[in-house]
Symmetry: C2
Subunit: 378 residues, 2 copies
Amino acid sequence: MSKLQFTIHATKWHARAGTVTLNGKTFQTPCFMPVGTKATIKWLILDILRDPHYIGEDLPPIDIILANTYHLYLRPGSKLIKEAGGLHKFENWPGLILTDSGGFQAFSLGLSKTTKSGKPLASLSEDWVKFKSIHDGAFHMFTPEGTVDIQAEFGSDIMMVLDVCSPPGISDKKFRRQMQMTHRRAKRQYDHMEKVYDKVNGVLFPIVQGGTNLELRKESVEFLSKLAKDGIAVGGVSVGEPQEKIQQVIEFTGPKLPKEKPRYLMGIGDPINIPYAIANGFDMFDCVLPTRLGRHGMFYTDQWYQKIGWAKFKNDHSKLTENCNCYTCRNFSKAYLHHLHKEREMLGASLLSLHNIVYLHRLVQNIREDILATGTTT
Amino acid sequence: MSKLQFTIHATKWHARAGTVTLNGKTFQTPCFMPVGTKATIKWLILDILRDPHYIGEDLPPIDIILANTYHLYLRPGSKLIKEAGGLHKFENWPGLILTDSGGFQAFSLGLSKTTKSGKPLASLSEDWVKFKSIHDGAFHMFTPEGTVDIQAEFGSDIMMVLDVCSPPGISDKKFRRQMQMTHRRAKRQYDHMEKVYDKVNGVLFPIVQGGTNLELRKESVEFLSKLAKDGIAVGGVSVGEPQEKIQQVIEFTGPKLPKEKPRYLMGIGDPINIPYAIANGFDMFDCVLPTRLGRHGMFYTDQWYQKIGWAKFKNDHSKLTENCNCYTCRNFSKAYLHHLHKEREMLGASLLSLHNIVYLHRLVQNIREDILATGTTT
């Protein structure tokens, strides 16, 4: 019996409007999940993401956020978080939490630095990712089974497998080898989950890989669809490849994923690719972009993003955007936000981050309502 | 007819519990006013200071905050704020706003720096404070009448006179000369206010000076009490003198101020001096300390303040303080706040700043309730 129930209310072409129920909580799909890397969404009090006063009376609360296993495993440590009663209690979040496996950061942060003798700070095998901590240089290791256990210690609701995220531009042969490693590891992790499924809080999603090679993507979808008990993800998209390749993979893989499971497109969270991916059957999205842009003074508008520091905003007493009902847009002018940005007042970054998260939340809600109103009821 | 009504409900020794009504809004006294220097309380969304979810169901909302004329005059400028509809609208604050005259910062920030030829960046005369902007070095000038007009452009509810704040340790002769300059300027500003009283939003408070010399304090109280139409302030306290001198001035001046006016002790906002000053008849307090301590990882407890970065808090799953009902204390452990501090996550500074403001807000409320319950009803 699956812990996760997914109900599809309506479809429109490949797009679906649904509801996920898990551990007595729900979230509506399609959905955008803000990223709370180190057990906090940067610059925001979490409660305001569930408060109509801040996100707007016309929007449902945000019900699911992300956290990063790599960072939390190193600091403050999964043991401490377990001792605190789990991540939900630690960070006081009443909604659901999805965690990644940590493998992506362990490897990418490790590879970007080298030891004195020129060796990268991370290495990879069938059985593990070994890496040096970015904090103190101590060696750590993630194993397929181990990352499930760490995520279980967090009390994560949706856990992710330890995949191999291939960078773009490697040979097809290497792409295939890494994809197959992802598959074998996923198999091990599902075998492990079999044993602990009833003891842990979360469910496990596998991650489709294969880079920009559509043959490999097809193979990966077919292999992992058989394992995917509760949901499935597509990874390795938007990791440096050109936009047309991103859209090609979205368009190709989306419709091939199991219809009755929630489908999560990892790391994609911009106003262009989200609608495209929903149209191709994806249900869940996450991205650090809304908060990263916000704390650097950038905000989403219907004409892509703009910078609040631009001189033309100094005397502009109009609101950020016309169609947004968030706390920032309802109450503050560009002139005020420009002033906060110029004075490096933290409130500016908070208010822009809030607007950017709500902007994407509204975007997916509008699409959801359109699917419900004009799609085929199921 | 005064725009400000002050009702005293009960007294206990010199202490008073009252209500101030001004421009259709009210605040209860004694009160602690958080400081919003540049039209924002650092690290906090202003609305949360009025929300029971954040300050605690058992406390009234915060009804009055400060803003600094010096900073706002330079950036974004009083003209722009007037154009925006005033400071309340600019920063979206529905409560009352008190502004200082800007003279203190113009002079102290100016004196702390010198030009290449060794001259201080500020100078002082009967008629003005001239100073170079900390931003671009441009020359500016505050005059007694001019600072009233600037504060009126902000739409300030309570404006302060352009006093001379004497540093400790100068000769009695110099203390007297500077105090007399404060008096003559105050007289000019009240003459100016006479003409504009019905056209501006605010009322004007004079500022008692005289340093640690009690004879001068007496003289200053007597002179300024005659001018004080709506309220009166005591300045130049806690500017570097020892604690016993601070208490001496509080104890000496408080009871001598006009009984029927709100009495504001400027810049004092710590858990030791606030109760002492209330006992000696002061009603209003402000200080940057709660937010400054908060963003450096410090928090008030009943044993003075502590640092969240201390190693002993790493595994401490208890709340910050036992008797506080603020959002931070209700929902987060020291271990979580320690984690945020170590990771330099901004939320840590926000949550500690909130706690520190609520801590002082609660402190004055508790004293107010005690005066109402056990004092003499008036």
